[in-house]
Amino acid sequence: MSQATTAAPGAAARGRAGRGRKVNTFPLLAPSVAALLVWMIVPLVLTLWYSLQRYNLLYPERRGFVGLQNYVYILSDSTLQTAILNTIVLTGAVLLLSVVFGTLLAVLLNQEFWGQNLARVLVIAPFFVMPPVAALIWKTMMMNPIQGVIAWVTQSLGLGAISWFQNWPMLSIIIIVAWQWIPFATLILLTAMQSLDHEQMEAARMDGAGAISRFRYVVIPHLSRPITIVIMMETIFLLSVFAEILVTTSGGPGHATTTLTYLIYIRALLSFNIGGASAAGVIAIVLANIVAVFLMRIVAGTLERR
């Protein structure tokens, strides 16, 4: 009995001393490491492997290792440059639109007015519409030159109808994607606005700052961090925009709205060229990582400035 009671503190002391050194963490880490392996590394390695193969589903018998030929072919194809440019234009434009309108809407919705809650829900609603549906709504209900709402409005004003997807394909895609992503920016920035110290705005009022100065010197600096978060999050998703293009323009006319993602789709599922698509995918991964490095730098920078 006495032995048991005296042994207990000793055991506890040993346990304390051994913490962090003796505990085997492998079983605890293994599940997540395994999941990462299955979900990330395996597809990545497979993609790399396929990108070095001649592998076209239409000619399954002509398979074999071709080295970097797929890359050489893709990089010398002008479609890739168009696709990269289109991706940059689409991502940049939507980022710009969603940050500008997101900020303005957040500031507006942060004011007290009648029906504020309903307005907030309505503004955020487009975010919950899935991309193919959103694209279909815009294609058939809004931008259709015959029965679309926009055409009806412009025609009532005597301006005639615009064939959006024919004449302004990239602009149309940008409008649709921005419509979906402005709510996300608004949501993030609105919550940030709500954490803005009330007394800071009042202090600025006492200091003689008008509405515009308060926006510029108090609101914008306060929002700078959430804005970088919005840019980072949206970039991740905007680089992989696909459904909107598939449903509306199918990458055309010509290659006017073919982005990197869409190019991979064309290669893989329209030309059945798995090898070429994989090579394009690897290039996309490299480009996305370059963007990610810059983004992380920006985010780290804004964090440091506090």
Partner: protein, 369 residues
Amino acid sequence: MATLTLNGVRKKYERFDAIKGVDLAVTDREFVVFVGPSGCGKSTLLRMIAGLEEITGGDLLIDGVRANDIPPDRRGLAMVFQSYALYPHMTVAENMGFALRMAGVAKAEIATKVGEAARILQLEKLLDRRPGKLSGGQRQRVAIGRAIVRNPKAFLFDEPLSNLDAALRVQMRIELARLHQELNATMIYVTHDQVEAMTMADRIVVLNAGKLEQVGSPLELYHNPANIFVAGFIGAPKMNLVDAKVAAASAGETRLDLGDGGGVVLPGAEAGLAPGSPVVLGLRPETLSFAATGPFRGIVRVIEHLGGESLYYLERAGGDTMVVKTGEAVFARLGESVSLTVRTERASLFTADGKAIGLRRDNPARAVA
């Protein structure tokens, strides 16, 4: 620098009246403290003076000019907020110079004025830091510096010390008093802490439920509270309030019956006091002392030794608690049954509905001073 006059100032919200008509004249270079329990409207009143809340009735005059409709930045007042409200992305110097920058003052002049304020507040070494890197006391000083730089007609403080720890609060209190002398400025200061009010104010304004309860110098309020609310709010530990009945009121003295057989004779008389009318006797803890016999009897329940002084909490027969403040010597033990006498010339008397009865002679503390 400035006088402020409030004539019947009111604040009406949809559901209730926050400020129910306040008349007050703040003279030049005065340090006025608004004090009251939370929700009494003291901050609202300050914000109305600042221009951050609309005045819904009455007039606010600054230097004799009606200022009700003048926007906050043109009233020439500067405010120090409870949360300091510093701009987190600006350096200390930028924070302090922001108002001047907004007013379009030249950069060199801003730098001079910021430097001057930084010297007064000993912030010179911190000028290019951001608020996030400062301690609570330093942030507080930056907030004050931001006010000083504007060279305002009057300073408004909204509970500026409530976010500081106790030691720093005492230090900042002294610093604020020093600043008031150095800047020679009119200051209005809001607090719920009566110690801050007592130590800093030239005049204290006691507010309760949107009304002025009493306005006067700290000692005036302490010795001659106008009603039970002020008597209970000013002074720590609180004034003892004892229910009593008038036994007899003759020329020169008033005899009170305490109900438990004890009685007290107060010097001075008041014509309206009929025998038998209920009154409340107000006794400051330091005016009570232990004695072999005395009008108040009770059992010692709690003793707090504070070093230089001790507080004894007594339970009287009816269950009421009385507090006695004594020197550091031990006068009684826990559970002991004791008697108390009182310096009757320092006692206050109130009617049953809380108004002070003017038995009072002159102010004893004034007589000494």
